[in-house]
């Protein structure tokens, strides 16, 4: 593993045992997060984003198994760690913020209690922990943080709660922050504020961020690298410039076309990708996107395309990779 990378996922396969049979939720997922960078993950609902995050932090559902692959964090394979060792990593070295700030804080405890309690690993006096919480709150932009420590989550607005969640997650200065659609539940102006705040914090702390979002504009604004997921596979990954300007997988291409921000003329019906997402219990023999792909050729329905690096730092899982971008 490259020492410059905080996280490296190689060939990750995750399966769920379900009543419908084996669900292959993640197949051969590769992901690299270079130190100090922001990596964005895009993909529609059910494409495996959450499963990927949960495998990183070791909180997969009970019926899930990792059948192969590795997740190296700072050179150590997280999949080989015991629950105890993982718990020491969570919060200290890998932190997470969630989608809905209305539900990610305990409603019956004041935020001060929660922020101080989660520092339980540090052997420092409570006053010092409190001071750190106050400092974190002011860094995320909570006005008058000292008196607000005593408030309960319901006394804050959604945007403020998301800041508090960010403050809690960054308190221990982790090397990696996983942000699972942190702005989806917020309105547009708050979204911009939170994004800028995250970027500032990332700069000053030097941590890396794995940023999951539906919002292509946010990804373009915030991220250095992007991976595009579809049906449990990483169909394309590369720098943010490559993905947005030289998309090489037909799915990425379609996804960008559907972004309302990119549509030139006024229309009543937004563009969609025809077809449905594949059934993970009954996978097609060939490319996962072949059914919905306008460019599919005979080979696409027979053989799973390998992930190929057709340009520097730019991978795509398509038999036609490198050709699509030109059109």
């Amino acid at each position: 593993m490259d020492a410059n990378n905080v996280l490296e996922i190689r060939g990750l396969n995750v399966e769920f045992a379900s009543e419908r049979g084996r669900l292959r939720a993640l197949r051969d997922v590769d992901l690299t997060i270079p130190r100090g960078s922001i990596v964005g993950v895009v993909g529609e609902s059910g494409c495996g984003k959450s499963t990927m995050i949960n495998s990183i932090i070791g909180l997969l559902a009970h019926n899930a198994t990792v059948s192969s692959g590795s997740i190296s964090f700072q050179g150590e394979d997280l999949l080989q760690k015991s629950e105890r060792e993982l718990r020491d990593i969570r919060g200290q070295h890998i932190s997470m913020i969630f989608q809905d700030p209305m539900t990610t804080l305990n409603p019956v405890l004041s935020i001060g209690t929660q922020m101080i309690d989660i520092q339980y690993r540090d052997q420092i006096p409570k006053a010092q922990k409190k001071a750190r919480s106050i400092e974190m709150l002011s860094r995320v932009g909570i006005p008058d943080p000292e008196s607000r420590l005593d408030n309960y989550p319901h006394q804050f607005s959604g945007g403020m709660r998301q800041r508090i969640a960010i403050a809690m997650a960054l308190q221990a200065e982790p090397e990696l922050l996983i942000a699972d659609e942190p702005t989806t539940a917020l309105d547009a102006t708050l979204e911009v504020q939170i994004i800028h705040r995250l970027k500032d914090l990332q700069h000053s702390m030097g941590c890396s961020i794995l940023f999951i979002s539906h919002h292509l504009g946010v990804i373009a604004e915030l991220c250095d690298f992007v991976i595009v997921m579809y049906g449990g596979e990483v169909v394309e990954r590369g720098t943010v410039r490559d993905i947005f300007h030289r998309p090489s997988h037909p799915y990425t291409f379609k996804l960008l076309e559907c972004d309302p921000a990119r549509i030139a003329e006024t229309t009543r019906s937004l563009p969609t990708i025809p077809g449905e997402i594949p059934n993970l219990a009954k996978l097609p023999p060939g490319c996962i996107f072949a059914d919905r792909c306008e460019r599919s050729i005979g080979l696409c329905r027979e053989k799973i395309p390998p992930s190929t690096e057709f340009a520097e730092h730019h991978w795509a899982r398509c038999h036609l990779a490198g050709e699509v971008s030109s059109t």
């Binding site: 932090i57 909180l59 718990r87 020491d88 990593i89 969570r90 919060g91 200290q92 932190s95 997470m96 913020i97 969630f98 809905d100 539900t103 990610t104 804080l105 305990n106 409603p107 019956v108 405890l109 004041s110 001060g112 209690t113 101080i116 309690d117 989660i118 339980y120 690993r121 409570k126 006053a127 409190k130 000292e146 008196s147 420590l149 005593d150 309960y152 319901h154 006394q155 969640a165 809690m168 997650a169 996983i178």
Partner: protein, 297 residues
């Protein structure tokens, strides 16, 4: 709120007292809560100090003074054996509170533990515990009590055993359903993602969410238990005579209800007052324990 009180509240002991004081003020702010608290304090004080306040020895028989109406000497009159009913009501309050507080406390602790186990444990254990709870619940309380009394003989301990066994499922079920709902709550997942362990999740995050509703349930359960004790004693299956209890006072008085109604009234009023007091208190406690219901911004 002053700045200093805010600072103190999250830190050491003075803060704990301060938040207790603040909770108390919240109870007192509601008229019904205040009334409930006053009634409960009144009942507790009169029971604790019963030996001091009682003008007569509660079991002293004075057959010449039997069934006397309330007077300056006998505030609530006397019963068929000439015993002072006021003294008997006071001492009876001790028994009522002892039975209700001890047995509810026990049932609460056991129910809480079993409920957490059922909510967090494996599916088979959950099913087994639920089956147990439902089996116990399926017996009517009084029938169950009759069976237990037949086995062990009538005594205060038997009443308490009956209460504990029949009340455990109520607390257990509630804690279980709360735990199940909380277990998959996003803030629990968030805490786990920040490195909180199993016991931290239970102690810091599940318990405070469960304990509020649980204490409310318990405070409303107290009157129910007092009536069970009174009922069983009335049926002759609780406290043995001559020990005074509100139930035995009712039982003694009810044969003479047409000519001398005061023993029945004297035995019934404390039951009613205690029931109302704990119920009101319980309802106002609900608002105190759930910060979301406080209507403050």
């Amino acid at each position: 709120m002053s700045d200093t009180s805010v600072k103190a509240a999250t830190t050491e002991m003075p803060g704990a007292w301060q938040s207790l004081w603040r909770s108390l003020k919240r109870v007192l702010r509601e008229p019904l809560g205040a009334l409930g608290l006053v009634l409960v304090v009144f009942v507790i004080v009169s029971a604790v100090g019963a030996d001091l306040f009682a003008p007569f020895e509660p079991n002293k028989i004075d057959i010449r003074a039997k069934l006397q109406p309330p007077s300056a000497e006998h505030l609530l009159g006397t019963d068929q054996l000439g015993r002072d009913i006021f003294s008997r009501v006071l001492i009876g309050g001790q028994i009522a509170l002892k039975v209700s507080l001890v047995s509810i406390g026990l049932a609460l602790v056991i129910g809480l533990t079993l409920g957490l186990i059922a909510g967090f444990g494996p599916r088979w254990l959950d099913n087994a515990l639920m089956l147990l709870f439902d089996s116990v619940r399926s017996f009517p309380t009084v029938m169950f009590a009759l069976a237990v009394v037949t086995l062990f003989g009538p005594s205060l301990t038997t009443v308490m055993i009956v209460v504990v066994i029949t009340q455990i499922p109520i607390y257990g079920r509630m804690v279980r359903s709360q735990t199940l709902a909380l277990r998959d709550a996003e803030f629990i997942l968030a805490e786990r993602a920040l490195g909180a362990g199993f016991f931290r999740i239970i102690g810091m995050h599940i318990l405070p969410n469960v304990v509020g509703p649980l204490l409310i349930l318990a405070s409303m359960d107290i009157p129910f238990v007092i009536t069970i004790e009174a009922g069983l004693s009335f049926l002759g299956m609780g406290v043995r005579p001559p020990t005074p209890s509100w139930g035995t006072i009712l039982n003694d008085g009810y044969s003479y209800i047409y000519n001398t109604p005061w023993p029945v009234i004297a035995g019934g009023i404390p039951v009613i007052l205690t029931t109302l007091g704990f119920t009101f208190l319980g309802e106002s406690l609900r608002d105190v324990f759930d910060p979301r219901l406080r209507k403050e911004i």
